[in-house]
Subunit: 459 residues, 2 copies
């Protein structure tokens, strides 16, 4: 499009000449406060910080310095080794029936294709169930494509079933003899930014190259598949796993007035996928919990100690991440509650708890504290999140889940688009306010807190 | 984010098993009709079709076949040679004060960096005027970064002044001695998809490597620049120009009842940038004009012949594209009006004309025909667009400009995101209806049509 260009350009030359001092930045939203400054700082000064990478190590240094500057005590890094994964060169193109480049990215724990690419027939499956129904051996030497129709949901529940295309699809495709797999991204946007994320190959299964294309590319493949002509693909995904990579948790405390009481643990994760800068996943979580811990002590120490855990390797920690390592180090210390923020920066809209009946009055106080923020209590199970799940399971802890609005989370999740401009400072602060309100209740009560399962002998 | 995953996965396994036949496609919008089918077909069966490429040649074959199938006569390809440009490997990363990868793409007519990359200081300029104000030689061996603050406008007027950062920035940077230039994309979105587009090096200027980063990356650079520490970049842009590339126009007609009358020319462009599939720029234009030409003859032949021009090399045709070649071939044939559709697929909202006062009644008829579609007449100059500008200038033709809503056009323009899912079939059809309404008036009048400039002796 060039219309109106040349006249406008002439006009513009004059206009520009009369500018004096121009603004230093065109960044549309700017926030302030502890939470914003953490998200801004991590995304600007560190950026992508894949678990096991040198950037994740820099992020740990950054985190320690920031937490000390904010007045936390006992700030320390608890290092551990992990199975990690490194991205390599990656591209793909359809070669038949039409030549089309595809926007693709490898899934974490994908193994590499041959360096000259993996060429073969691309077989279309509309669902994971259709792939599962394929006869044994029917995909030998072929590449499976698995489509799906994930839609946005406020509670993020679409990520369970549709995320399984990523988590389980590669294993199933390998079991059917496939040489590789390409999936529609587990995402709800329509940009040419594919969504990465870890897959898990079952123990007895040969790992295969596995990638995700963006939604518009998956639409294209679906349209071509519907024309009924055989499809071929040329796939190059050079990412590969590597063992014994250095990761680590950053742990820090705000001591309470009574150090003998079980502590409150607040968690986020410091690592991020490499495609974006990890603004919503999960610098925002670290900003929220840290700002709330400080805000809860603004008018004086809380009764209980508040500990923050900026976890290492959450993203690829299925075989042992920061949450597991935390239990190894701190599993014998008494905890009252463990909470995690790892679902972006949009506003909290629902509350779920697994407090025992004995704590009913305490739960009522939490609900009342959240009432002015528009947060509605919901029944139903909740698990707390990957960074705190191990300590929760280990100590049978009660859970408080401050559920964030997930309508747009999977537009950005694990894509290059996970950048600072996606964080709304007002929504971020609402999270801080909600967490602060909860902390003021639970960190100031001496009453023992128990979970439904522990108290009622469940599980 | 892994919360709720494992329980949901267990539930999902059961759910999936009970699925029987799943939908073949998750594509959210589906249209129908001539315009939609052209956009769907070109984006699905051809995809990216950079001027001078083998894909553009395939697109010409496709266009000929489609226009013949639709009943057009005298369908032909009019080939020409052009200066073209080919994309190469491209990446960039900040190396100081923070290590950050950047989402970058080369501008058309950029020259290549050294294969090992171009490393140097990155100097921040908030505006094009600030770059122009830099002292001669002050950028020697450095790389300029030019920021700006383009905002969406309904009439697309932001593309004049802010697009100049792309059009003129590289020339100015080279004149100051810069070894390369990086600009904030001339775009209004916030995705990690940089906007390409041609730049033009002035005759006496040494071409330098020139690229655009996405808006989130430009935000990052601006934030880092505001911290006051020197910035360094490692830039690899291997794209390069090449001469004598094959391009061509596809021309076809729907004959009128009176072949002696000057014809109506409707234009779009067939070439597209290579990053997307050219859905909104400009398969939509070709769909709109072609569907409208047919619809105008639905109840019988129009009085005047309607000719469609699917132009070659509009995007890089600054030094001679399809519009210029059209004049070489058809410049002596009488034309009544030339119109172009090249501003996406959103609804037409304004009408501009340059008809002479003698045609006032005819203009009133056009306005009345557009009234039911919500299209408002506006005063002011209009040029008709790049594909028809040469014939308009050559024959001093009157212009009818059906202005489309541009609020979202520069979110997608020249990015990987220019794909079919961005085309709203209802808005696309509103365009067809508007063009049809205009054609029914102007293609059925025997009255001579003259432009303001021709009739009043202007220009
Ligand atoms: Zn264009
Ligand atoms: Zn165009
Ligand atoms: Zn994640
Ligand atoms: Zn996460």
């Amino acid at each position: 499009m060039l219309r109106k260009t040349f006249c406008a350009a002439l006009l513009a030359a004059t206009t520009f000449a009369s500018f004096s001092a121009a603004p230093a930045s065109a960044t549309p939203t700017q926030g302030s406060g502890v939470a914003w400054d953490i998200v801004e700082g991590l995304t600007t000064e560190i950026g992508p910080r894949l678990a096991g990478s040198e950037a994740e190590a820099r992020a740990r240094d950054w985190a320690q310095a920031r937490l000390r500057a904010l007045g936390f005590s006992d700030v320390s890094v608890e290092e551990f080794k992990t199975l990690a994964w490194q991205r390599g060169e990656e591209h793909a193109r359809l070669t038949a029936p039409y030549r089309q480049p595809l926007a693709i990215t490898a899934l974490g724990f994908s193994v590499p294709t041959p360096a000259q690419g993996l060429k073969g027939e691309l077989v279309y499956f509309p669902t994971l169930a259709a792939l599962e129904a394929a006869p044994e051996g029917s995909l030998k030497g072929k590449i499976a494509f698995v489509d799906h129709a994930m839609r946005p949901t406020q509670d993020g529940s679409g990520y369970g079933p549709y995320g399984d295309v990523r988590r389980k699809g590669p294993t199933i495709a390998s079991q059917k003899g496939a040489a590789g797999i390409v999936i529609r991204s587990a995402g709800t946007d329509s940009h040419r930014n594919p969504h990465t994320g870890a897959t898990v190959f079952a123990k007895d299964v040969k790992p295969i190259p596995a990638g995700a294309v963006s939604n518009p590319d998956a639409d294209l493949i679906a349209r071509i598949a519907s024309r009924g002509k055989p499809m071929s693909i040329d796939l190059k995904l050079m990412g590969k796993p590597f063992p014994d990579a250095p990761s680590g948790n950053v742990v820090a405390e705000l001591p309470g007035r009574d150090p003998s009481l079980p502590i409150i643990l607040l968690a986020c994760h410091l690592d991020s996928w490499d495609l974006g800068t990890g603004a919503i996943d999960d610098a925002s979580g670290c900003g929220i919990i840290t700002a709330a811990a400080l805000a809860a002590q603004k008018d004086g120490q809380t009764l209980r100690t508040i500990r923050v855990l900026w976890s290492g390797n959450e993203e690829m920690g299925i075989t042992g991440g920061g949450g597991d390592h935390y239990v190894k180090v701190h599993g014998s210390e008494p905890h009252a509650v463990a909470m995690e923020s790892d679902f972006g920066a949009d506003k909290v809209w629902q509350l779920k708890t697994t407090f025992a009946q004995a704590n009913a009055e305490l739960v009522d106080k939490v609900k009342a504290a959240l009432w002015p923020l528009g947060i509605v209590p919901h029944d139903g199970p909740t698990e707390g999140g990957a960074d705190v799940a191990p300590i929760i399971a280990h100590q049978k802890l009660a859970v408080i889940d401050l559920g964030q609005d997930g309508m747009h989370y999977f537009d950005l999740h694990h894509t290059p688009d996970d950048t600072l401009d996606k964080v709304d400072p007002i929504a971020l602060q609402q999270n801080v306010d909600a967490w602060t309100a909860v902390l003021k209740v639970i960190a100031n009560t001496p009453e023992p807190i128990a979970s439904v399962s522990a108290a009622e002998g469940g599980e």
